[in-house]
């Protein structure tokens, strides 16, 4: 249960129900999951904790600065899933995104 070996996932949504659903969709063994209910804190969290992936609701309060996150080095939030989504689907997408992101990071270095 080393926390370091887990991928850091940030969940950003202002609906608690959505957070709950997302959390249940993810395997807790594989991820460290953070939560943000507002756009601004999401950005801060994503940058400070260096999350590997973020799952964000695109319509949240305080979304200003979201663009910074999207263009920040090392982040590759470039996939979109429309609600509602199945639990398997989100897991699969997240995995592929993280893999892709890591490959890209390797290429950079």
């Amino acid at each position: 249960m080393k926390t370091d070996s887990k991928y850091k996932i940030l969940l950003a949504d202002d609906e608690p129900q959505n957070i709950k659903d997302l959390f249940q969709a993810l395997n807790p063994e594989s991820y460290r999951i953070f939560v943000a209910s507002k756009g601004k804190s999401a950005v801060e969290l994503a940058l400070n904790q260096q999350s590997d992936a973020s799952i964000m609701d695109c319509e949240m309060p305080e979304m200003e600065g979201m663009e910074n996150l999207l263009t920040a080095p090392g982040t590759a939030t470039n996939d979109y899933i429309k609600k509602p989504f199945g639990s398997n689907e989100i897991e699969t997408r997240l995995q592929s995104t993280i893999t892709h992101s890591l490959e890209q990071q390797k290429n950079y270095t």
Binding site: L11, D14, P16, Q17, F23, V35, E59, P61
Partner: protein
């Protein structure tokens, strides 16, 4: 009567030009050789004609007429004028004054044309001579003066001097003795200058006479002293004798009698030696008079008799009378009265005739003067009249000319103005035409654009209608499957979500529907409380999530309403209230009885107040207060619109009031409500309480370790909360599960205060009331 009788010597000057026959002969020879008819021949003819007059007057006329006709032939005006003048001289010598005058005047006319001043002057002089001989002295003087001014212009000093002498002589005749002197003096200067001493002697003599007559003896003496040596030099003994006589007179007047007597004798000796009759007469008379005044009567008689004898030899009456008078005086003194009487008679007779003659002369002169003046006056009047006429004519011409010029200038100015205006108008027209064309083009463009816009608008409208109908169809088609989901699922979450969705869809469809059609109301009596409780149950999960309840602060009412619609109104209002409420704050519902059984129902939440500027629009379609990007307040915005429509369909009003301290009230009225008698007071009291979680000692014990761990977690690390808290769920009691649920809700929405409160609750086992 000591009147001194003066002997006045008057010399009338003629200009005798003595020529030799030989000269004329040579000229005639020259003429004979000169065959050519030209100006030289004419000049020659005139020359001969003029010079031959002293020898053969008839020849003068012949030559002059030849010259005249030739000059006429070759149009030689100068020759013509000259020949006319010579013809005048001929007629003058023939004493045909009228013809002479005619010739002179014609000559003057031609001379004027060619400005031959010498010929003109000669003619005027000759005319003057004619008038003088006729006794018409004023006209004579006039002509002489014309002559003088002309000669002065030519600068011929000899002629100027001669004419001045003539004028002086004329004035002598006219008796204007004072006026003549200046002419003599001027003439003297000229003759002296041109060294014509012979004539100068005569002039001096006249000057002396004039001074003597005017009594200016000293000046008379001065000129006499000048005159005598001049006469001696020029060997003019006649003039010398006369000069001595005057000299004697002057000396006598000065009282130098010896000298005077001596001078008289000089004169007598010179005169007797040369047998100068006039000199002898003058000298004898003067010395006789002298002796008479000296009382030497014998000598006086002797010379007086001699003077009388000389006087009788002349035809001059004055001399005769003077001599007779003197003799009469002398005989009187010598007491020879017989002789005295005899000479007195002679004197008297002669002097009478002289008097008559002079009277006649004077009368004639006066007549002539009068005539001359009158003529002159007439002439002047005519001249004035002529001048006036000329002036008037000139003025008229000037006026005509000026008005013509002014008219012309005005016309030009006018024409210029018109031209300028025309140009201006033309230019303006051109500009206008250009602008018009531009405007036309712009108009067309605008029209085209307008057409395009209309077209686009129509297309957009069509598109919009299409979209709307599509949306409507879609939304409508969504309703049925959603109802199926609601009916067939047991999962609470699914039900919640489906309910929410159904509400949104229903609102959308209804708003759209009732915009065009009236509500079809199924009004029945319903318990207000029942409806509200039903609504609360429908939203239970939502209320639970925010840890709140719906508190009804009223006795039950029976309201007359369409139950389905009223349920949905409350459902919307509550859903709204929950959304905007903070955690742990209950939502209150109040009623207020209004007049005529009407009722006002208010639902109050304690969330953020609605900005005042947003209040008027809050029930409008798709309006929503707050930031547009605020997704927590996101909705279709049709809920309140639907409420307004439904309430108004029931005949009520809907409104909102939002105050920072008091919360936000959504209220509406219904026109008809009845109080429902059955009431459950306990229920109300219970509902009034804060929702609480009570943790037992066991619960706290169970949670203790977890709480200590949870305290250390960052609120956002949701996976760690789950790691710790999820295993505690099942075996524990309801309150523990509720506690855990609340923890997660706090974590999910990052509510630190709520998290702290729950941790403290788990640590102490106490409940803390949320602020009321």
């Amino acid at each position: 009567m000591k009147k001194i009788l003066l002997y006045l010597i008057l010399i009338i000057l003629y200009l005798p030009i003595f020529s030799q026959n030989a000269e004329i002969d040579s000229l005639e020879n020259l003429l004979a050789k000169h065959q050519k008819t030209d100006t030289i021949k004419i000049d020659l003819l005139n020359d001969i004609a003029f010079k031959v007059r002293f020898y053969n007057l008839d020849k003068t006329l012949q030559y002059a007429i030849r010259a005249d006709s030739l000059a006429e032939f070759v149009d030689y005006k100068k020759g013509k004028a000259k020949s006319l003048k010579i013809q005048g001289v001929y007629y003058r010598n023939k004493e045909d004054d009228a013809k002479a005058l005619n010739c002179y005047q014609r000559s003057i006319k031609i001379s004027q044309e060619i400005n031959d001043q010498i010929t003109m002057a000669a003619c005027y002089n000759n005319i003057g001579n004619i008038y003088k001989s006729q006794g018409n002295y004023p006209l004579a003087l006039d002509n002489y003066q014309k002559t003088l001014s002309l000669f002065e212009k030519t600068g011929n000093k000899y002629y100027v001097a001669v004419i001045q002498l003539n004028i002086a002589g004329l004035l002598e005749f006219m008796g204007k003795k004072d006026e003549k002197l200046p002419y003599y003096l001027k003439a003297a200067d000229y003759f002296n200058e041109i060294q014509d001493y012979r004539t100068l002697i005569t002039v001096y003599q006249n000057i002396v006479s004039a001074y003597v007559t005017s009594g200016n003896d000293s000046l008379a003496l001065r000129y006499t002293i000048k005159l005598i040596p001049l006469c001696k030099t020029m060997e003019d003994d006649e003039k010398l004798s006369l000069a001595f006589i005057n000299y004697g007179l002057i000396e006598e007047k000065f009282g130098n009698f010896v000298s005077a007597e001596q001078k008289y004798f000089e004169a007598i000796s010179i005169s007797e030696k040369n047998n100068f009759k006039r000199g002898m007469l003058g000298a004898y008379h003067s010395i006789a008079r002298y002796y008479y005044y000296q009382g030497v009567y014998n000598l006086a008689l002797k010379y007086a008799l001699k003077a009388n004898k000389e006087a009788n030899e002349t035809d001059r009456l004055e001399e005769k009378s003077r001599a007779a008078e003197l003799l009469s005086f002398i005989y009187e003194k010598t007491n020879n009265y017989k002789e005295a009487y005899k000479y007195h008679v002679v004197f008297k007779t002669i002097s009478d005739s002289i008097f008559n003659e002079s009277n006649i002369k004077e009368i004639t002169t006066l007549e002539n003067q009068y005539k001359f003046d009158k003529e002159k006056e007439v002439l002047e009047a005519e001249q004035t009249k002529k001048d006036a006429l000329q002036e008037a004519e000139l003025k008229r011409q000037r006026v005509v000319r000026n008005s013509f010029i002014i008219g012309f200038v005005a016309m030009i100015v006018f024409a210029l103005i018109i031209f300028k205006n025309l140009v201006h108008i033309k230019k303006a027209n051109r500009t206008l035409a250009k602008q018009k064309a531009e405007i036309e083009v712009q108009k067309e463009e605008i029209q085209t654009q307008a057409d395009k816009i209309t077209e686009q608008y129509e297309r957009l409208e069509n598109l919009d209608q299409f979209k709307e109908s599509l949306t409507h169809a879609l939304v409508h088609d969504l309703k049925n499957p959603l109802s199926q989901v609601l009916i067939n699922t047991s999962n609470q979450n699914v039900r919640n979500a489906a309910g929410k969705m159904l509400r949104l869809i229903s609102n959308m469809l209804d708003v759209e529907k009732y915009e065009t059609t009236e509500f079809d109301l199924n009004k029945e009596k319903h318990s207000l409380k029942e409806i509200l409780e039903e609504v609360e149950n429908g939203q239970e999960t939502n209320l639970l999530e925010k840890n709140m309840k719906l508190n009804l602060h009223f006795d039950d009412y029976l309201i007359l309403a369409d139950k389905e619609l009223m349920t949905r109104v409350f459902d919307n209002l509550l859903s709204n209230a929950i959304r905007y409420s903070p955690l742990n704050r209950n939502i209150d519902v109040f009623t207020e009885a209004l007049a005529n059984d009407a009722i006002k129902i208010s639902m109050r939440n304690y969330g953020e107040t609605i900005p005042e500027e947003a209040l008027p629009f809050i029930f409008d379609k798709y309006r929503q207060f707050g930031k547009t990007d605020c997704s927590s307040h996101r909705s279709t915005g049709l809920g309140l619109t639907f409420c307004k429509m439904a309430v108004e369909a029931h005949g009520g009003n809907i409104g909102v009031s939002s105050m920072p301290e008091e919360g936000t009230d959504f209220w509406f009225t219904l026109p008809y409500a009845l109080k429902n008698g059955e009431m459950d007071e306990n229920e109300i009291a219970t509902q009034d309480d804060q929702r609480t979680i009570r943790l037992s000692e066991t619960d706290i014990e169970v949670l203790k370790e977890a709480v200590n761990q949870v305290k250390e977690f960052e609120i956002f690390e949701i996976s760690r909360f789950h790691e710790i808290l999820d295993p505690l769920r099942e075996p524990s009691g309801v309150d523990v599960n509720d506690w855990i649920t609340l923890i997660f809700i706090a974590v999910y929405i990052q509510n630190t205060d709520e998290l702290d409160r729950l941790i403290k609750l788990a640590e102490n086992g106490k409940t803390e009331n949320t602020d009321r």
